[in-house]
Amino acid sequence: MNLYEIIQDTKTHYCLECGKCSSICPISRYDPQYSPRVMIEDALFGFEEELIHNHKLFSCLTCYACQLKCPSDVDYPLFIRKTRELAAAAGEHGDYAHSGTLQSLVGLMARSSIKQRRFEWFSNSYRTSESSDVMLFIGCSPYFEPVFEDIPVRTLDIAEASLKILNSLGIEPLVHPDEKCCGHDALWLGDMETFRILAEHNAAIIKESGVKKLIFFCPEGYRTFKLDYPNYVKLDCEVMHISEFLAQRLETEGLRFNEVKKKVTYQDPCRLGRHLGIYDAPRKVLASIPGIELVEMEHIREDSICCGTSCFTNCDSYSKQIRVGRLVEAKATGAETLITSCPKCQTHFKCAMVARGEEKGPEVEIEVMDLANLVANAIGG
């Protein structure tokens, strides 16, 4: 696909240059050099070289805030994703966070002959079954643990909480030892070769296992399987986020939780919210736990603000300021805990709280917890 086709494909040529995108963009709010409108203008003027070598191309969070406000329905995040394909082909990439360790791990996972040891963390207290028709997708969580050891974020806690939830519902899911990264980051960074390999691999193992339902605790994996895989591979199973699954079960089975006394606020992850329109399910789950008081932030649902980083790229000063701003908003609600249903939101928020120097920035310390962990606590036992 060339730039011309990308423009047509994403309706970029309908741009009215009204600037609504730039005024809503969380990056533009802090980074004066970044403007979606200018990016689009560059594309429409045909400045292809400038565009693909502009490293701000990798700043976009693809949070979809702009697209929802655009009067011409320009799909700016998709425009960015496609343009990044051109950039990647020209050898460009953004500024990788963590020195590119995560991108490298994804690349290595895409090598066909590896035999991963994904489940050494796995505790015997959870019941799984190789013949189950429900599969829980664990994704990159085992890799995140060592990388984010010092924050500290324990993404596998979310995996364990999800297993506990499923077990308590009488489900012994399949956890697949050969599962690989869903390819979300590769896709959004324009590395299509890696994405395709990963998608084909995952589709093949899922097909082979014969599962009918695939449950995610990570909205990125969920979005990738639900919206992106169908364009590349055939997948014969239903995909769901655990919050959706829980909301459904609340209705059908009248689930009961123990009381958890907590005042919480909720962060809508971009992938779950604006990408897939799931705003009510997690709130329904929160409302079903006795003792939980939900106090909403100023910006919620469609107006929610991104956790500030995407694809572990261009995680810069502006990204930090977005996160700090969001945490300040969360604290302002008076909630003691910020609930989210995305492991990456949790990681990015907790990372923003790290302050190891002598001089400290604004006070943004607040407990951050995944919805799955809260539910698992409410199940007790």
Partner: protein, 142 residues
């Protein structure tokens, strides 16, 4: 078919292990040519990405070597290197890499012979293990 010759990339700190490799040279201590050294100022300078990149680019084994704590020019570089290395070990373990492919050594400037021996051991071990699993390029599925 020719015998499999493993490729090893060694990250060596300027003050100790790089100097030890120099000493192996001046003392004409022979060792197999499978190893290629990247000079870093301190073992604490070795970023996990350097090691991952070495595997990505086809290394069968990687050696991270620097000073002993008592010799460190930067005082506690080895401590920092160890911390990095612990994380790295966990990552490549999950990726399914055999433990022997990633080695951490402390070799002081006077230990040219030790450097040569470590290389010999690694080459021998890696010949038994065969090529690293990452060697197969992207493409084939499952």
């Amino acid at each position: 078919m020719a015998e499999f010759e493993p490729q090893i990339i060694a990250f060596c700190c300027n003050w100790c292990t790089y100097a030890a490799a120099d000493l192996a040279g001046t003392s004409r201590v022979h060792y197999p040519p499978n190893v290629k050294i990247v000079r870093v100022m301190c073992s604490g300078m070795v970023n996990p990405i350097y090691v991952l990149k070495a595997f990505e680019s086809g290394a069968d084994g990687v050696l991270v070597a620097g000073c002993n704590l008592v010799d460190c020019y930067y005082l506690d570089g080895p401590v920092k290197c160890d911390a990095m290395f612990a994380i790295l070990k966990k990552l490549v373990h999950i990726l399914g890499l055999e433990d022997e492919r990633l080695r951490r050594e402390m070799i002081s400037a006077s230990e040219g012979v030790v450097f040569a021996r470590v290389v010999e051991e690694m080459v021998e071990g890696l010949k038994k293990l065969g090529p690293a699993p990452f060697k197969v390029k992207k493409g084939a599925v499952v």
